[in-house]
């Protein structure tokens, strides 16, 4: 470029001012609100369905929303004409008779009718006694709720010369009257109102007719919140600190889900900190494979490993981590698999991160299956349909063709699809085979059983038939994490969230065996803490998995499953007796706990599990001693647990922050053959810079 332009460029750069911070914030907020309103209008449009009950107020609102200034002029002109009609004797003769007797389709409610006739015939007619609603009230409310002040002013002005100002001269009632008389407004019931109804308007309707009209309020509610997205997360309040002397027993179900980790990764790589509710610490911890000692061939299907370490974020407490390693069966000897892919093909799945990623993922998985395994595909959208009849996995071509033929369109009917998938799975089942329905969705269950509880019940009854259900979540913005969790937990399966092809690789290839072959059902953990050594304890994570103490021995109470080769880690933060970190004071009148003979024991671990398909549970017991030293795995798990707690902002961590979590995790990465732990460290660094410390 020439000097001229260079000069100009540097001059321009110097002249360009920084944006005003306040204006910047305001603009960003405006954009966000418009964005939310745009999203919201789609959701809110469902609220006023064709089947919703319709009354006068819906009609009035509709009219108000669709009234243009042209329409307003028509109405007011017509009103003047109407006034003349009322004032002349001939006009009254015409009016009084027919209106009283006539039933009009517009006015569904008798109240509305009498209101109108009262309005038109007010000056001298006995019809006024029929109308309990006072005219002034109607008039006021109508004035308040006119779409803009100009409109009602115009109508009032036009009406006054005709001395008709007490007969609901303003807007809507007038138009109703008109359509009752002779149908000047040719289309008295236009299209449903735009969802972004002006707030003031709906509110004033509320005030005017608060007791009569529940509808406007409903619409009001629907339009009011600017929800940023429609994702729903399953999470409960954090586990509180428990005092050993008062509640020595802690019971929960294991959880091998990993969906929360992928979600958080998606948030962080997108440049934002995840919302607190999206963080489920046990799912972060369990995302990583740990190399705990495996059980022997004749032992129970899994083996617990307990280790104790100093809490990284609190020198006066200890972390007790309980690692459970599932047995790795001989892969070649594994039973035949019957897989039913239940694939959501609703319109929302068209996104490249959804259906296309799903197809790629399943293609990866197909390579892991053997010839004895069978695959069927059921799709569900507006209606459910079987796309691929049960086919041996060796017939790759047929399966891939069916997969590629899937296209997104229509709304979602999760339940119809589920029913069909279970039916197909039942048809494929044979002795010694494992049947599993794999539901792939972006989490939208709009039609059919939309109530998560009812859907849960349905899946719970199907669980009895021995068919497992796994849920794979795809895509963002619409993901209903809560429903996903509920379905997987009740279907004896796992929930995973797949955001990238490498995540699909992890879930469907590297850990496929664990995901598809359960080795123990209904695994429950119960820890009884020793009040002589442990003053307080807190379970980190597993908030959605808490069980009642008595549920531990109740075999009918459902709990989580462990798949082949899977590991599960649970971490307690315990405060030893006499530690300065103890938060509660000992009771003055409480029983003094005598140090018993096993005073070196911190607590006692009990595990219950069922062999797959068995009805009765078995018990594993092992004491927790302070002597067991934590290895790399437990240390890394502690770092992840700390990271999760930093993300959801719970607990008092003092000066311990992301930098310390990163240091601890980096030190204990171990072998990390798949690079998962390295990725976690990167995520921690991202979170560190995003949180600004």
């Amino acid at each position: 470029m020439t000097d001229d332009l260079d000069d100009l460029k540097s001059a321009l750069n110097r002249a360009t001012p920084r944006p005003d911070p306040a204006a910047r914030v305001a603009h960003l907020r405006l954009a966000q609100e418009n964005f939310a309103a745009l999203q919201g209008s789609r959701g809110a449009a469902r609220q006023t369905s064709a089947t919703a009950p319709r009354g006068l107020w819906t009609g009035v609102k509709t009219m108000l929303n669709t009234l243009t200034s042209k329409g307003g002029l028509t109405v007011t002109t017509a009103l003047v004409a109407c006034g003349f009609l009322v004032l002349t004797p001939a006009g009254q003769n015409v009016l009084n008779g027919p209106i009283m007797g006539k039933t009009d389709p517009v006015a569904d409610q008798p109240v509305a009718m009498s209101d109108l006739s009262a309005a038109t015939a007010a000056p001298q007619d006995d019809a006024a006694t029929v109308a309990p609603i006072t005219l002034s009230e109607t008039g006021n409310a109508a004035n308040l709720t006119a779409p803009d002040g100009r409109m009602s002013a115009v109508s009032a002005e036009l009406a006054r010369p005709a001395e008709a100002d007490n007969e609901t001269a303003s807007g809507r009632s007038g138009e109703l009257a008109q359509s009752a008389v002779g149908g000047v407004a040719s289309n008295p019931r236009p299209a449903p109102p735009p969802a972004t109804a002006p707030m003031a308007q709906t509110r004033s309707i509320d005030q005017g007719f608060g007791t009569v009209a529940p509808e406007p309020k409903e619409i009001n509610d629907a339009a009011a919140p600017f929800a940023p997205d429609t994702e729903a997360y399953a999470n409960a309040a954090d586990n509180p600190l428990k005092i050993t002397a008062e509640a020595p027993v802690s019971t929960f179900s294991i959880d091998v889900d990993t969906a929360s980790y992928s979600l958080i990764r998606n948030y962080l790589t997108g440049g934002v900190l995840p919302p607190r509710d999206a963080v489920r610490i046990e799912e972060l911890v369990n995302y990583f494979p740990y190399a705990y000692p495996a059980p022997g061939a004749d032992d129970a299907p899994f083996r617990p490993t307990v280790s104790v370490m100093q809490t990284p974020w609190n020198p006066d407490t200890q972390l007790v981590s309980i690692g459970i390693q599932g047995r790795m069966p001989d892969i070649d000897a594994r039973p035949a698999l019957n897989l039913v892919f239940l694939i959501d093909t609703s319109g929302s799945m068209a996104d490249p991160a959804k259906l296309p990623l799903l197809k790629q993922s399943f293609r990866l998985m197909l390579d892991q299956l053997r010839a004895v395994d069978q695959v069927a595909i059921v799709e569900y959208a507006g209606s459910a349909g079987q796309v691929l009849a049960p086919t041996p996995a060796s017939d790759r071509k047929a399966i891939l063709n069916a997969l590629n033929g899937l296209g997104a369109g229509g709304s979602t009917n999760g339940q119809g699809g589920l029913q069909q998938a279970y039916q197909v799975a039942d048809g494929m089942a044979a002795d010694g085979e494992v049947s599993r329905v794999i539901l792939a969705t972006d989490g939208d269950f709009n039609v059919g059983i939309s109530d998560p509880d009812a859907l849960k019940d349905y899946i719970a009854t199907q669980r009895a038939s021995g068919t497992y259900l796994s849920v794979l979540g795809f895509g963002r913005g619409n993901l209903d994490d809560a429903t996903m969790q509920a379905l997987a937990q009740n279907g004896n399966g796992t929930a995973a969230y797949i955001d990238t092809l490498s995540e699909a690789q992890k879930v469907l290839v590297d850990q496929l065996t664990g995901a598809l072959f359960p080795i123990a059902d209904d695994v429950k953990i119960q820890v009884e803490w020793n009040p002589a050594t442990v003053a307080e304890y807190r379970l980190i994570g597993y908030e959605t998995r808490a069980l009642n103490r008595e549920d531990f021995n109740n075999d009918r109470v459902d709990a989580g499953e462990i798949g082949a080769g899977q590991t599960v880690t649970a971490i307690y933060e315990v405060t030893p007796v006499g530690s300065p970190a103890q938060l509660s004071d000992p009771l003055r009148y409480g029983a003094v706990v005598a140090a018993s003979a096993d005073s070196d024991e911190l607590g006692f671990l009990r595990l219950r599990y069922k062999e797959p398909g068995a009805a009765d549970s078995q018990l594993l017991e092992t004491p927790i001693t302070s002597g067991s030293v934590a290895g790399n795995d437990a240390q890394f798990a502690a770092a992840v647990a700390g990271f999760g707690q930093l993300l959801n902002g719970n607990g008092d961590f003092g000066t311990w922050g992301y930098a310390d979590a990163i240091a601890l995790a980096t030190e204990n990465r171990g072998e990390d053959a798949f690079g998962y732990r390295t990725e976690a460290v990167q995520l921690m660094r991202l979170a560190q810079s995003l949180s600004g410390n």
Binding site: T2, D4, L5, D7, L8, K9, A11, L12, R14, A15, T16, P17, R18, P19, D20, A23, R24, A26, H27, L28, L30, A31, Q32, N34, F35, A36, A37, L38, Q39, P228, D229, T230, Y267, L268, T269, G270, G271, V272, D351, P352, A353, G475, R476, G477, N478, Q682, L683, L686
Partner: protein
């Protein structure tokens, strides 16, 4: 590890509010700077940025991931600037945003002949097309991208730039002659 602008835009077009927020957060300053260059007036630039921010969510639906986000956003900005100029009561008033500023300034301090002044005078003498083109090209947009943004051919952009250079040179010469 960070998501690209394009991915964010696609996610936002799909209804992801978080993605939209972070995208706009990233782009706002550049957008404002461009608006300033297009209008030559801080208040005007602020209004224009607000217009764009308000309309962006609806426009986002048209983003299909074919162009770079910045290119697409610049196109939105240039179109918004055109709309705004059209909306103004008189075209002269709109096109003389730089001129108004210049007149007021000259009335105040006639003797100040610093480079900033020169810049404003120079920009004021260019017509809308040349100024838009220059605003983009001086924002390190390539000629090809500028052509895409303004909806003209690359040759036109090159011609406009050389034309702008010619006029600037002329301005400089008359100045030096004074």
């Amino acid at each position: 590890m960070t998501t690209s602008d394009e991915d964010l835009a696609i996610a936002a077009a799909g209804g992801d509010g978080q993605a939209f927020a972070s995208l706009l957060e990233r782009q706002y300053d550049r957008l404002f700077a461009l608006c300033f260059r297009l209008t030559g007036n801080r208040a005007e630039a602020q209004d224009l940025t607000q217009d764009i921010c308000a309309a962006l969510p609806a426009k986002l639906n048209s983003y299909r991931g074919q162009a770079r986000v910045t290119t697409w956003l610049y196109r939105v900005a240039v179109n918004a600037a055109h709309d705004r100029r059209r909306r103004r009561a008189t075209h002269t008033k709109a096109s003389d945003g730089w001129g108004d500023w210049e007149l007021a300034r000259q009335a105040e301090i006639a003797e100040a002949r610093d480079q900033l002044d020169w810049l404003h005078r120079a920009m004021a003498r260019l017509n809308d097309d040349l100024r838009d083109t220059l605003a983009l090209v001086l924002d390190d947009v390539t000629h090809a991208e500028a052509a895409e943004i303004l909806g003209v051919s690359e040759g036109t952009i090159s011609w406009r730039i050389s034309e702008a250079k010619k006029r600037l040179r002329a301005i400089k010469e008359t100045e030096e002659a004074l």
